[in-house]
Symmetry: C2
Subunit: 174 residues, 2 copies
């Protein structure tokens, strides 16, 4: 089933809920018979969401990253390589037109960290099949992307236990 016009969505901001909002949108799309792919940038850990999503038909998750912290000032070559491979995979997905919804999880951060050039991200918008929904998540969404997006949500952190130094918890935060 294809939608007539697919939008470009952005979930950004410093609050909790960006990746989960994209996942929830994917769950909704799967419920409507659509095919969803989520490419995770800068993530290599076996997050609990992957085990949850494994139950869903037509929801594919591919990770391009590792579990280590990436330095914004001095990213390692392996982090740049992972991001480039993720970008190449995204291009292939767009080109082959195998999905109705493509989530580029944390790509905004990969752009902000200069692992991916913003021009490459803008090229993805050009390559998007008209029916496909394309979703960018992560803090620091670049203005160039926001300019071209149809739906932009900024999630603000009003309150968070991290503010009190409390650690994140498996199953809830990751």
């Amino acid at each position: 089933m294809s939608l007539k016009k697919g939008y470009i969505h952005i979930y950004t901001g410093n609050g909790k809920g960006k990746t989960t909002a994209a996942i929830g949108l994917g769950v909704r799309a799967v419920g409507d018979g659509l095919r969803v792919c989520m490419i995770q940038f800068m993530k290599g850990r076996r997050y609990s969401e992957l085990d949850g999503l494994a139950h869903l038909p037509n929801f594919t998750v591919v990770q391009f990253g590792r579990d280590e912290f990436v330095s914004k000032e001095k990213p390692e070559q392996i982090d740049i390589d992972f991001a480039c491979k993720g970008l190449a995979y995204a291009k292939e997905v767009l080109h082959k037109d195998l999905y109705d919804v493509l989530i580029l999880d944390e790509i905004n951060v990969a752009i902000d960290y200069h692992l991916i050039d913003v021009k490459e991200a803008l090229q993805l918008l050009q390559d998007k099949p008209p029916h496909m929904e394309l979703i960018f998540t992560g803090r620091y969404a670049p203005p160039e992307l926001i300019k071209h997006a149809d739906v932009v949500s900024e999630i603000l952190e009003i309150k968070h236990p991290y503010q009190k130094g409390i650690q994140s918890r498996k199953g809830i935060d990751w």
Copy 2:
């Protein structure tokens, strides 16, 4: 599997992504072996997300509402009855302690519309089993709830096609 301390989460604001963020959190929790219940207030439509979530083990969705528009100024008795039943169901879920994550979807709006008294919502916080995660979604979260919450995300609408008068679309927006 139970977490040591369950938080009170709020997803509010005028932007897209509140219900989907809660769903995504639920998917993550299910992936970690937790049991999730979502009670939807003021909703009676067979949303696509329900068909997606039907694939997941241990993710229960119960609706208390109807598909008709609810007037804030003059809600009908049936809308008040639905909300009261949803509240009673939430109390039962808390009392029986059958779930690890309880999502009260759109309850903030039900409070804002005076279908539910804010004191009743605050009582839910008192009744929460310590391990349970309790999630409130919807615009207009009352300050009394925000005061007692651990995690509060406000989702701002930066851009949305509705601004241009474009209708919502099945599979993506509902």
